[in-house]
């Protein structure tokens, strides 16, 4: 996975978390993962298809998810509240949507699918070309994990190169 694909997700997560939680965030840890994905708590998964294909998971331990959801909702939520899971899905939607907007401006075209709650303990195993990058964001109310497994769809590369070329000319 190239950094040009990853950076927009880091920027988007940083901006969305900082605005929603009203506190700065930092990257605590960054690692590559080829093993099957292991859910940490409340997780939302979004598939993207197009020039780049794959999936992104946002994952928070249950206590952090509750604190994040309460902060976003503006009031304390009960632990079992459906709204906690909804908030994690919407958080994924915000981060991925903003990252995709930035990538689209770089010439990549793809479709974002609605977020789904990731309920199984293990996710699909990464492969050689969809090795997952796991980024841990440290926030004032706990860690937020972003697990990104994306791959280029080679047939679309010329179109993207042309698009980038057109922008350079402009």
């Amino acid at each position: 996975m190239k950094m040009e694909l990853i950076q927009p997700f880091i920027n988007a997560a940083d901006a969305v978390l900082a605005q929603g939680l009203q506190c700065p965030t930092s990257i605590a840890n960054l690692s590559m993962e080829q093993e099957a994905y292991r859910r940490k708590g409340v997780a939302a998964l979004i598939w993207v298809t197009g020039d780049i294909e794959g999936r992104i998971v946002i994952d928070l331990d249950p206590e952090t998810a509750l604190r994040v959801a309460s902060r976003f909702a503006g009031n304390d939520l009960p632990e079992s509240d459906e709204l906690v899971r909804e908030t994690v899905c919407e958080l994924a939607n915000l981060v991925i949507g903003n990252a995709v907007t930035s990538l689209n401006d770089q010439g990549f075209h793809f479709r974002v699918h609605p977020p789904v709650l990731h309920t199984s303990e293990h996710g699909p195993k990464s492969s050689e070309d969809t090795e997952a990058l796991v980024i841990c964001f440290e926030t004032c109310i706990g860690n937020v994990f972003l697990n990104i497994a994306l791959r280029h769809k080679c047939s679309q590369q010329p179109e993207r190169a042309a698009a980038v070329g057109r922008r350079t000319e402009n």
Binding site: T101, V112, P115
Partner: protein, 146 residues
């Protein structure tokens, strides 16, 4: 949350009525809280494009706040179908996916404006006033405003 000068309908001074369309309950609640601070009224909610069309027919809201990425029918298609039947419909797209092609597609198919998520209340408020145009008035209540 910050309070804004209430935006009322010019014709009868009543609160602007909104239809909020988003597959996320959290996003709908968040928008509903903002609408409250604008002095508006949530007339109805929908979680997908198909329901949005039927709810528009039933409620005839003043403004529709419409997400794009939704199950069953996406927001841009739903907006187009509503505007085909009701050219006067005021639809504001509210989406995290804000790249140029998406915005242009939404506007070409009938949406009046586009607001990118995460939504800033002051931005949405200005968009609401703009979209309502002469059909809306922002009353300057004491202690309110931005």
């Amino acid at each position: 949350m910050e309070q804004f000068a209430p935006v009322k309908r010019s014709k009868d001074g009543q609160p602007v009525r909104y239809l909020v369309v988003d597959d996320s309950v959290f996003a709908r609640k968040n928008l509903a809280r903002m609408i409250e601070t604008f002095g508006g009224q949530v007339a109805g909610e929908a979680g997908d494009g198909v329901t949005a069309i039927t709810e528009y027919e039933r409620l005839k809201p003043d403004i529709v706040l419409m997400d794009i990425t939704m199950p069953q029918m996406e927001g841009i298609e739903a907006a187009e179908k509503i505007v085909q039947q009701h050219p006067e419909a005021r639809i504001v797209m509210v989406s995290s996916v804000g790249y140029q092609e998406n915005i242009v597609a939404a506007l070409q198919r009938g949406a009046r404006h586009f607001v990118q998520k995460p939504v800033k209340p002051e931005v949405l408020y200005e968009v609401i006033k703009y979209v309502m145009g002469e059909d809306g008035t922002a009353a300057h209540a004491a202690g309110a405003g931005i």
